[in-house]
Symmetry: C2
Subunit: 206 residues, 2 copies
DNA sequence: ACAACCATACCAACCGGTCGGTATGGAGTC
DNA sequence: GACTCCATACCGACCGGTTGGTATGGTTGT
């Protein structure tokens, strides 16, 4: 064992709480979720909770931080990353997100979007932490766009389009939550995908 | 005076509660908002609240119903409705929404989107009521799309595009709430607008 | 022994909802 | 037109359950 790793399994408890917190927040929201809910789902006691996190808000902030790095890691290791052509790689990225967000089993809810909507007017700490998730996602997507645009020799607003893509995901998730019809995700994201691919096909002398 | 109109002003109290409820829910969400918050903002007592509404959920349901009809009424009487050319009317509609959603003073939050996100997994009544707002908005937009497509003689997926438009609004609102930067609304909606207008310009024999 | 780790009992604040009671004005009666 | 009767509208103290957070004591590894 390394230096840390004290009695019982501290890291395991902390990790369980982070996973359970994200899961609960994404399902029921930050306000509705109780500390007891999270403890039950994580299989730890309330004492363990407040040993590792100062408050429910602190756990949420840690969940958002983990969400941000997890998303970045998932993106960085996604299969589409091995595509060499920048335009195809961009298209592969969008196809990748359409795919994972349409998978039947998994929870169609973004931690950042959920928390941002709930606390934007009352808790600037969590609002900013949520925003960092979006900023991270947008900058990754913007980089893909930049490469693709450079290859095609077209001048497009990569930052604006990245926000458009991120927004489309958030909007699709909301419509899915209201309608419980997953097809809206594929539908909406593929429209953005087609739009972006069409922009890259634009001839400079149109 | 008509038949009703009993002591004090019942209709005024009820209306105040609906307005205050929508305002509070849009700002702080359904769960965070307390009945006392709403009463304070409406300037009525707690007794008056439960005289007019059976529960906080019942008020929210009434607010969503009002939101649906208010949005429909606003859309039906919007200036763009007087535009005779179907394509220009559609473009005017999108410009109209970009305009009102970018206005500095007003609260950039959709009641349906806020409540749907919070209760989709725990309260099917409110979820369905939220969904009706989206269904209504989509059908109105789909009708505009249908007319424009017919005039141009192009065949487009009007229902799917209407969902895309509605989703873009919801997504833009979330990104705004997180970033507090209103420019994302204009940015995102204008991308959808450009996409739709481009689709209408498609020659059938491309 | 000592510190990290965790369990349990507990607390005070809060919140949705209730309840007994009051105020207001209209309808019916004479 | 005064008087009774009653439905609607409203008030605000109160209640019971819930919730985030705490206090305290025990257990485990080093």
């Amino acid at each position: 064992m390394v230096v840390g790793m004290s009695p019982r399994n501290a890291e395991s408890s902390r990790a369980s709480l982070l996973i359970a917190g994200s899961q609960c927040f994404r399902r029921e929201g930050f306000v509705s979720t109780t500390v007891d809910d999270i403890c039950r789902e994580a299989g730890v006691s309330k004492g363990a909770f407040f040993h590792h996190f100062a408050s429910k808000e602190a756990l949420a902030a840690a969940c958002l931080e983990k969400w941000r790095t997890d998303m970045a890691a998932m993106d960085a290791t996604a299969p589409y990353r091995s595509i060499s052509d920048p335009v195809e790689r961009l298209d592969g990225c969008m196809a990748f997100y359409v795919d994972i967000l349409s998978r039947p089993g998994q929870l169609k809810s973004c931690l950042a979007g959920t928390i941002a909507q709930e606390v934007f007017d009352t808790n600037s700490t969590l609002r900013d932490a949520s925003n960092q998730c979006f900023v991270g996602a947008e900058s990754m997507f913007a980089a893909l766009l930049r490469d693709a645009a450079k290859m095609r020799g077209v001048d497009i607003d990569v930052v604006g389009l990245a926000k458009h893509w991120t927004g489309a995901i958030q909007g699709a998730l909301i419509l899915y939550k209201a309608s419980q019809d997953a097809s809206v995700i594929e539908n909406n994201l593929n429209h953005v995908r087609a739009y972006i691919m069409a922009l890259l096909d634009t001839r400079k002398t149109e």
